[in-house]
Subunit: 160 residues, 2 copies
DNA sequence: CTTGACCTTCCTATCGTGGGAAGCCCCACC
DNA sequence: GGTGGGGCTTCCCACGATAGGAAGGTCAAG
């Protein structure tokens, strides 16, 4: 099986196949005399495993762990579960963060009449301080919007 | 005001200040004789605007649009609203995608006893095909889990 | 033997951010 | 008037995971 067939049957692009090999997620494929990579059915199974793990949003590093556990008959399911649970926690955090953004923006959009007039609460908000309080340190308007605070502060932007 | 002070009062790092200038999100700052960048209070306000827009997850390109609209007295609020609404739609899509992943993984983790034994439904799922049906083409188990299909297929991974 | 599809490696880009090196500048302190 | 430390400059590299493309070798069918 060459790389094209392995790609087609595993759902992993040839680009990614070579990349995964380069970062040692999968072992170096053996080669034909001409230098073509050769894949076995077992290799393709591993690739499908990886593909599904990626579909669940797992990072390459976690997938490395999972593949290792998968191939280890002495593994404990607790180890597998921990990897999954950590990822769920990260997904939850991300979902919370995005939801806070979404809600804020949706509320602002709802408050915007959206016609020919220039006046716009969205711009006003961006201009003024993400729902007041940032500027003067004293909240002067309506403090009954707890969700507006969530997206501020330490937002590790490059983490996702 | 030099770049350090502008950074401190706007919440945008000096790295990002120079980067934003390089991609023409903000105009080239004027310079002292020694080549130091100079920022005005107006510049800092723009930077705060940008910072808040980033906090809401808006892309640099959308922020470019918004800054343009913000500084255009003839703008129509409809244009601003459209940018916001598009971003909300993307956030919604992303949230849906992440939630599907989360739910699947959480269910699998729930089904995993997580002890010393090697047997694990998480690995079984990754191995077997994201909740069966992929392998044989015929669903043989429990089809009442509509959420398990959502994360598959065309997932533009690099879009986020 | 040619043609076209496939393979190889290597470089580039994405997106937004941070880290760091090498070198110049400025101010305060002695 | 020096000097030291912190700030500024530019430039390069890294991340994570993926795609695109160029230049060249290979294979199989016609």
């Amino acid at each position: 099986m060459n790389i094209g067939q392995a790609s087609a049957t595993s759902g992993v692009s040839t680009k990614m196949l070579r990349y995964y090999e380069s970062i040692d997620l999968i072992p170096q494929a053996s080669r034909t005399e001409a230098g073509y990579r050769i894949y076995s059915v077992k290799d393709v199974n591993t690739l499908r495993f990886i593909r599904r793990a990626r579909d669940l949003g797992l990072s390459i590093n976690r997938i490395k762990l999972l593949v290792g556990l998968w191939q280890d008959r002495e593994r404990s399911s607790a180890d597998v579960k921990r990897v999954a649970t950590e990822h769920v926690a990260e997904l939850d955090a991300k979902i919370l963060e995005l939801t806070a953004m979404r809600d804020t923006l949706q509320d602002l959009a709802d408050a915007c009449h959206g016609d020919h007039r220039p006046d716009c609460p969205i711009l006003h908000d961006l201009e003024g301080g993400g729902r007041l309080s940032t500027q003067a340190g004293v909240v002067t308007k309506d403090a009954s919007h707890p969700k507006y605070g969530t997206a501020h502060g330490a937002i590790p932007r490059h983490e996702a």
